[in-house]
Amino acid sequence: MNKSSNQLIDYTIYLGDCALILGQRNAEWCAHGPILEQDIAITNITLDLIGQSRNFYQYAAQLINAVENKNATEDSLAYLRMERDFKNLLICELPNGDWAQTVLRQFFFSTFQQLLFEKLKDSPDEHLSAIAVKSIKEINYHIKWSGEWVIRLGDGTEESHNRMISAVNNLWMYTGEFFIAADYENSDLILLKNKWLDKVKDIFDEATLTVPENVFMQTGGKTGNHTEYLGFVLSEMQSLQRTYPGAEW
């Protein structure tokens, strides 16, 4: 296997892992949302994310099987890999916390995903480009929904404002990882950072929130060095396939 095909596989898996793990976390809200409409909203977003991860995994499986003569499938990638094999951003695997933390994470992630996919759209790789174009339409809705919630809570009551401040303090240290390129990524990833910050600042201004400064940034997810939380996410998500290997609907 040459370096570039290896990198493409890793990159495609990274994109799929972020969507899958955040989708899995959001799905924990199913039947626990604050009101019915918002329960439906967060699970709709989950469905979009899981759909995106399937598209990435299907393509990754095709790439793996072409170079390695293996039997990779979207399911084997989701259900049969170990913690260290997952490349998702740390922010995706963190516990949901309260509603403020959940919507703020979605806003940070979707805003990043949109900028990344706008670039991916022009990729010479037509599979990645097609998935990006398809996903952006969904992401636009995710940004709007989560951005409105950040404003609503940030500029809401004293209680909701304080919860939003805690959410910012809990999550900010995980946002640096978006822009630090792993060896399977383009180094110009860093160019997205200021665009992302501008978009976040726009919403934070309306939400009467302040962007933290000089925060030490956590990294590691992209290379498989995860927080202790990922193991618990995977053990729940993979339990059926681990217990009954090959089980199908």
Binding site: Q38, I40, R54
Partner: protein
């Protein structure tokens, strides 16, 4: 062979969306092409509405079944993402069927998602009393493709097939 293709399209016209059964898959615009390699083998190319649309597998199954019932044994279903599906591909007859079913049909290209926070799509017509004094309750509805509105006049909540 052309006749064959027409025949296949007429069969696809009978396959309905499992979640909105008044719409056929042709109304929805998810059938992108039909390729008849020879009399025996047909390839049907479909595209998902949303990345995570859970109806895709059911639709593929229903297509195969419909073909099998009509003597086509070799059917291959291919999924494509490019170009990405848009509500602009929904047929006019599909839109009017949606409306009489009680779902407001999607507006056209110019009115697609308004990215400004708290701005909503305007003038969505209530499928019950036809008032355009309606308001958005939630951008996300009972399926991925719908949002939830309410009529300010007759007060009924209703689904809107959102622009995509």
């Amino acid at each position: 062979m052309n006749n064959n293709k027409e025949h296949i399209y007429s069969l696809l016209e009978q396959v309905c969306d499992p979640e909105i059964p008044v719409l056929t898959i042709l109304d929805l615009g998810i059938v992108r092409d039909v390729i008849c390699a020879d009399d025996q083998e047909i390839e049907i190319i479909i595209t998902p509405t949303y990345s995570g649309c859970p109806a895709m597998d059911a639709i593929a199954f229903d297509i195969k079944l419909k073909m099998l019932e009509n003597g086509f044994n070799k059917v291959k279903i291919t999924y494509t993402l490019n170009p990405a599906w848009t509500t602009d591909w929904m047929t006019e007859s599909g839109k009017s069927k949606l409306k009489s079913y009680g779902i407001a049909p999607p507006q056209n290209v110019s009115s697609r998602i308004n990215k400004i926070m708290f701005n909503e799509e305007q003038n969505i017509e209530c499928p019950l009393c036809h008032s355009i004094h309606t308001k958005l309750l939630s951008e996300f509805g009972s399926t991925a493709c719908k949002s939830l509105y309410q009529c300010n006049d007759c007060k009924e909540p209703f689904d809107y097939f959102k622009c995509h």
